[in-house]
Subunit: 347 residues, 2 copies
DNA sequence: CCCAAATGTGGGAGCGCTTCCACAATTGCC
DNA sequence: GGCAATTGTGGAAGCGCTCCCACATTTGGG
């Protein structure tokens, strides 16, 4: 028996579809589509008819239908494998997001922020990316264990890392500041002003930035023939900086210089030093890392290694968009930005 | 002439499709689909055949195709019409996001963060929402001019506001703290400890929370027969709190109590008071608003009005999900949470 | 003035999925 | 043991869109 189906397109129930626009404009669906998307090969007549129809009908294209055929979602993900607290307290992320949105604003691409607190939700994040909900991913602040670089390389999603990934660095693109050079320079500045016992408060051991910054400190120390034994790790938060400084000063009371892997931690350290009655920079000189605002507001103001986070995020985003636009040229690529030492009062 | 089309599904080029899964599992596409989505009306045999096929093929459903027919995207937007700087510096947003992600984690729904710096990008945000890229929207911290509540009500997107919207409050649901009662209580606390000249640092004039908090302060003042004339506006940032405090102390040097509409601004005010040599709480008692961490860390620690931001965000999110699940019951609804005064050292 | 190139248009075939429906194969109940 | 209810299955119809291709219709050289 022939089944009778009521065509729903006859009466516009919900959102108007392209079909209706075409009908109202008196053109074919193909022409309407062309007119709506850039208007190549469309006569002025047809174009304006479609424009009018779109306006009167209040037509908005259905993104699902569109992306089903174009295979593009016009959105990219920013993946941040950090607990939300850190994301929303470290100016590093604000700067990054600012850079990203600036570039995205130029084109019509949406940003999807994927906050994946380490562990549990990484799988979900990965699934989301594997499903190709987005055209590409920008991974910021990743940790050793998430193995994000390999996973993303495996699923073939265009991606760019902010900061060198642990492994798979040869399979994905990344933008990084020259952490080694930066921290070396910072350490050298302390050495130049006469410090001989220089400790460091490093970042979390499972991030490459930490590793590289320690390496920079080590290099400078060994070149100067100084012992590089006073190391304490924090997690880039102010509180961890306080704790690390306390531990460091207890174990090495003779320290006269402190190289800290982030301004936030340095701010925490300054507090502790003030508590302990150590004058900065006279008793202990301190250098931070980042220069994203907090360095100017500590007392004393922090001498620090500036990394141009906004700019780096911009570069990374542009790089990502290139790869999204041209999936062929997926040769891995790295951009290394030189940091600059900004001298203030603390060293 | 008959055109010959090469069926692409013959050879699996890119991602495997449901068709291939079905073929490999030896079932129809319909059965495969059922097996993948919950497995209602699927025999154990078929189920496991499909499961295996999915695994060996590495199948992931195409979300665009799925949402084209289900008309669901399984993602919701959190709309924050604020400059990124504020979003990433005010713990209010961190708390909100934490509450939202907690609820979303229970189900398989993704969060899309829409940062719409006021003005320019509101149109874009609105377009994104109109396109139904998401199933619903949670609007946080909205301002008078964006008219988001009306627009969202117009396009019929399920939405919930965090904080009472300016207009259209009768058309959308919202979750809010009882700002009036909170600030009234704060002011009464100052009055109770003997303050007679109580000024206030309010939030931005284009937000309902500011308006309501001022109203609370006014109520308490007028009940006590005190003049409510010392008002200064900030924008909830620490810097603006400093400026406001400076202005207030200049215009009303005799102030002995300060009701501040956010802890961040109160922290700024405390700095200024310290600079001016005013002792807190002896010369001037200060009460903040929020209690999201910073209040404990100021010196002296801040007496403040606690709003349970996490919990509010949770409520709002659940409310939103209900409306997404059941678009019928779109009756507006409001949830008002009572705040509590937390007494510390500053008042 | 003729033929080739450029331009505009519509038909129609999908994109990959869910879901309605018809139909078979079980099962259960009196 | 017969019939209704339940359960499992596949065919097929779309969801709303883009884009290939065929087919006019203009345009422009030589």
């Amino acid at each position: 028996m022939a089944r009778v189906t009521t065509p729903r397109s006859t009466v516009s129930a919900g959102q108007p579809t392209l079909d209706e626009v075409a009908r109202v404009a008196g053109v074919s669906r193909a022409t309407a589509s062309r007119a709506i998307n850039g208007g190549q090969r469309v006569s002025a007549r047809a174009q304006s008819a479609v424009d009018t129809a779109v306006r009167t009908l209040g037509y908005v294209p259905n993104p699902a239908a569109r992306s089903l055929v174009t295979r593009r979602t016009d959105s990219i993900a920013v993946v941040v494998p950090e607990p939300d607290d850190r994301v929303f307290s470290d100016p590093f992320f604000a700067g990054t997001l600012r850079g990203v949105t600036r570039v995205l604003g130029e084109r019509d691409i949406q940003l999807v922020l994927l906050l994946a607190r380490p562990g549990a939700s990484t799988a979900r994040t990965l699934r989301y990316l594997t499903n190709r909900h987005v055209d590409g991913a920008l991974v910021v602040s990743h940790h050793r264990d998430d193995r994000l670089a390999e996973h993303l390389a495996d699923i073939g999603l265009p991606c760019v890392f902010g900061g060198r990934p642990w492994t798979g660095g040869d399979r994905v693109a990344y933008v990084d500041v020259d952490n080694v050079a930066g921290e070396r320079e910072a350490t050298e500045a302390l050495i130049a002003r006469g410090c001989t016992r220089i400790g460091t408060i490093a970042g979390p051991a499972d991030m490459t930035a930490s590793e590289d910054r320690i390496a920079g400190w080590r290099q400078a120390m060994s070149t100067a023939g100084l012992a590089a034994d006073a190391v304490e790790h924090g997690d880039f938060t102010e509180a961890s900086g306080e704790a690390a400084a306390r531990a460091l000063m207890e174990r090495h009371p003779d320290i006269d210089g402190l190289v800290v892997a982030s301004d936030l931690m340095a701010a925490g350290a300054l507090k502790v030093l003030a508590e302990l009655g150590r004058r900065v920079p006279d008793d202990i000189a301190v250098v931070g890392f980042d220069d994203l605002g907090v360095a100017e507001r500590t007392s004393p103001a922090l001498t620090t290694v500036r990394q141009p986070v906004d700019e780096m995020a911009e570069r990374a985003t542009r790089l990502l968009l290139e790869r999204v636009d041209e999936p062929g040229s997926s040769r891995p690529m790295r951009v290394i930005i030189p940091p600059t030492l900004v001298r203030r009062a603390s060293a």
